[in-house]
Symmetry: C2
Subunit: 540 residues, 2 copies
């Protein structure tokens, strides 16, 4: 049963933007907001209008361009400054001008911060809080108050921290959110402080945790267990330093472990897709190991587990992956040997006999290649090509031959950079030479390859290179080190990857490009449609 | 005071190797073991001899090549198989042959697993456990038992789970480790099950947690709070699916939050360096957001915090970074504006006046460049070049000019891949042309650049390119998308990075290569020695 009163609160677009390496445009923020709304979060904190020009712009555009179905938009800001009349404080005015139904105010609840950072008196701080809350409530806003550094403040001066909570609530704040701003708490402290604060004030409480002790999610769960009805977090745990509580993890935990339907069950099935969509916008590399939605979250490697998995997946999984939009995967690696290859082959749609020679040969080849630096974990397509050679009893028919390839990049004062690739292939007995241009060597080679082949093999036209990663092996980048290149593709509705390894980075890329072409030209196993659902990406 | 009786147990080399994307050689495992020993962990689980050939080899070589000062080496394996005499079970023999002082046996404690996975009776499973433990104790080994799927097993059939614990202990196992194998627990369940098990059996207990609910560290802390005296984890939380408990985080939490000196305080100062050393071996990308030791763990971005930080760092940090070998950093970004630039400039050794025009101009340029895709967060050197131009009141003197550059890569059937770069520079009035070869375009250009310049500028010879990363902006890789290239360098004892942005990936790399050269040729601020301590790397 849906729990409408729980306040699931996302601060990706404000606190999450402190994430090192993340820079969002206003367009990006609107896109993220739409996805979070679709997931069903209750509140989306859009930014700090007035203080951050990009955020002022975001709220302005949101009024006409953001059509939220589930979430309420929230503007974040500070209480009025010491000694200034609330109505005259330009920050407070900016909060109102943002035009949101909800406003969250950050307030000091730690006597040390009141004195050193705000440089005012404890009494004035309380007046700032009460005055600003009252002003905004009077203006028709729902108000939440973030009690900054609450847990440290409670430890230092409990009475004052509690006074801050009471002052905010008495002035009309709907929820007071207890913030572990420095992230130094462990769950037992959070639980007892939340429980005590609730018992001593009776105020509706929330939690805002950071991950500096590796316990942000656990702290959030502990606070909710202790009676908090509002939980803040960010997509993927984005945030400053060690990040905020990962709101995706918290959401799944609340629904699946606590039976609290803070988003509807049907929406929870969009969790993994929501995560991927956010990653595409932020370009912060996805964590394969992210709980519930990471590419590795339900990925099994060891041969030991692989055999048990064939019997009963629930023996080795704490929940059903499909509930969060994820799937179980098995990896081919030298740990798993034949069991892994068998399981993977079946996953790809092939019918293989347990203990077949083909599987054994494929497993041996995988192990040898891995010793040379190959990794098939993000390269399902390259693995499938290898498997097919063994299942078919020999190398795949050569639909074309490569005679030569080259690519050059050059720049000079005052001119545009030029990149040109040339490939020379033999296709159906004829020599075909094609050139390609692009934004770099890999892109140019890819273009040349398609120029040469697409006329003869029209199915190649649907291939779209979506990402490539170069990993220099052995930790050295001087001459002599090998490089492993992983290229990711979108192929109609499916996503898959290829791998290449060579002492030369461009040659490694060329291998991976060729594998992709061979893979598309390969017939899939009987029964697998070209528009089969996308395979889960290995890394987000 | 050192707590020698606490069993800090590392399973990086066994459970951690299930990490997707990690493949270690025997040499790698020996190197990691040495670093963990130096840190002061109590036990190092080296692998599964007999089952994994590489691990059999590891234990063989460890006998002569691994000189452990603090840790005990542990061999991991399974109890004898059903219906087989312990002394005749080849797996058990392999455990003995590993020659370690300690052996850890994994045993089923979940009735469902005993029946479905082992396919034997509950009674035989108990006999397997007791028999194998007794056999190994009799052979002079200290024995730990991992009670697999304990928490799920306890929930399903409490009595049997407790019987397993008792049987292991009565047969001579020193510690029974309760494993949340599927990772589905939350801390409160862990706490109560550990407390109950301890109360009902009196056996010395340990905890082995996984991160599938995002609570591995918290679960470990909860178990220790409930009386466990043994905690298992892996370096950086490596492991299958969502990983194991991050032993670095657990160690720091136990020492700094619980006052339990599970490693000596002086050794804790090596935590960050240990983490980096392990990363260099495993090549699994370091998480900047890792608690305590991540590059971002004590990194502050927002202008709000930057001003408070100048007053009192403790206001915004939950502990002192140096205690774990980390340092506080500030980031230059558009969020921080002038405060961030000022703070960063001082961190780099420059004397700047608060509110100076130079700082304001630098902040404006940073913001503009960031809008075009630049990121200075991993590129301190590029930032410093920009800052110097503003502080010096104009562009840096041109010690050389670039006339043109080009690089080509080509391959053909039956021949080695060739990469050649040519650069044409004007140095001290003369035109210098140089070529370079390498393992790819960036390496070749770098070589050519140094061939041209090192004779005139000998200080450049100490530059060593250690890593480069290409990020395609806007999520597209077709023509038209811009690329951002970050190159990392080792320069004597210092490490720093440069950035380049261009529509062409190679041109972006070229920019970053040039920045590095200009940076080395720049005089540092007065008072900063060339062998200043290395700057903390932005991403591990």
């Amino acid at each position: 049963m849906a729990e409408e009163s729980f306040q699931l609160y996302d601060t990706t677009l404000r606190d999450g933007t402190q994430q090192e390496g993340m820079v969002l445009t206003v367009e990006d923020k609107l896109a993220v907001a739409r996805r979070l709304d679709a997931l069903g979060v209750g509140f989306i904190e859009g930014g700090w209008p007035g203080a951050v020009p990009k955020d002022t712009e975001f709220f302005r555009r949101a009024r006409t361009e953001l059509d939220l179905r589930n979430a309420r938009l929230v503007a974040f800001g500070a209480t009025r400054r010491p000694g200034v009349r609330t109505a005259l404080d330009p920050q407070v005015r900016a909060l109102l001008e943002a035009g949101t139904p909800v406003v969250t105010l950050v307030a000091k609840s730690h006597t040390g911060h009141v004195r050193s950072a705000l440089r005012t008196t404890l009494a004035e701080n309380l007046a700032m809080i009460a005055g600003t809350v009252r002003y905004l409530v009077h203006a028709g806003r729902r108000v939440f108050v973030d009690a900054e550094h609450y847990f440290d403040g409670y430890h230092l001066n409990r009475e004052y921290a509690l006074e801050v909570v009471r002052a905010a609530a008495e002035a009309g704040a709907e929820t007071v959110v207890l913030c572990d701003t420095n992230g130094g708490c462990l769950p037992d402290e959070v639980r007892s402080v939340v429980a005590e604060t609730l018992a001593l004030t009776g105020v509706q409480l929330g939690i805002h945790a950071h991950n500096d002790t590796g316990c942000a999610v656990a702290n959030t769960m502990a606070a909710v267990d202790a009676g908090a009805v509002h939980a803040q977090g960010t997509a993927h745990g984005y945030g400053e330093r060690c990040g905020n509580a990962d709101l995706f993890t918290v959401t799944a935990n609340l629904v699946l472990k606590r039976g609290r339907e803070v988003v509807p069950l049907e929406r929870l099935r969009d969790l993994a897709a929501t995560g991927r969509a956010v990653t595409e916008v932020t370009q912060v590399p996805a964590r394969a190991a992210a709980p519930y939605i990471g590419g590795s979250a339900f990925t099994h490697k060891a041969g030991l587990h692989a055999s048990a998995l064939r019997i009963d997946p629930d023996l080795y999984q704490h929940t059903t992956p499909e509930l969060v939009g994820n799937t179980m995967r098995t990896l081919v690696s030298d740990m798993g040997g034949r069991s892994s290859v068998e399981l993977k082959a079946r996953e790809l749609g092939y019918t293989v006999e347990a203990g077949s020679d083909a599987v054994a040969r494929a497993a041996t080849r995988v192990k040898e290649l891995e010793n040379r630096g190959y990794s098939f974990e993000s390269a399902d397509a390259s693995f499938e090509l290898l498997l097919r050679e063994e299942l078919d009893g020999g190398p795949r028919p050569r639909l074309f031959e490569v005679e030569s390839w080259s690519v050059g990049v050059s720049g000079a004062q005052g001119t545009q950079v030029r990149t040109e690739a040339t490939v020379r292939l033999t296709v159906q007995g004829r020599t075909v030479t094609a050139t390609g241009h692009g934004n770099g060597p890999v892109n140019a080679l890819d273009t040349a390859l398609h120029t040469a082949l697409d006329p003869c093999f029209p199915s190649l036209a649907r291939l779209e290179l979506t990402d490539y990663r170069v990993r220099v092996l052995s930790g050295e980048t001087g001459s002599g080190a090998a490089a492993r290149v992983l290229i990711s593709y979108r192929d109609g509705r499916r996503r898959w990857g290829t791998v290449g390894v060579d002492g030369n980075t461009t040659a490694a890329s060329w291998q991976a490009l060729l594998d992709a072409v061979h893979y598309v030209l390969l017939d899939g196993p009987p029964g697998r449609a070209d528009d089969a659902p996308p395979l889960a990406a290995a890394t987000g």
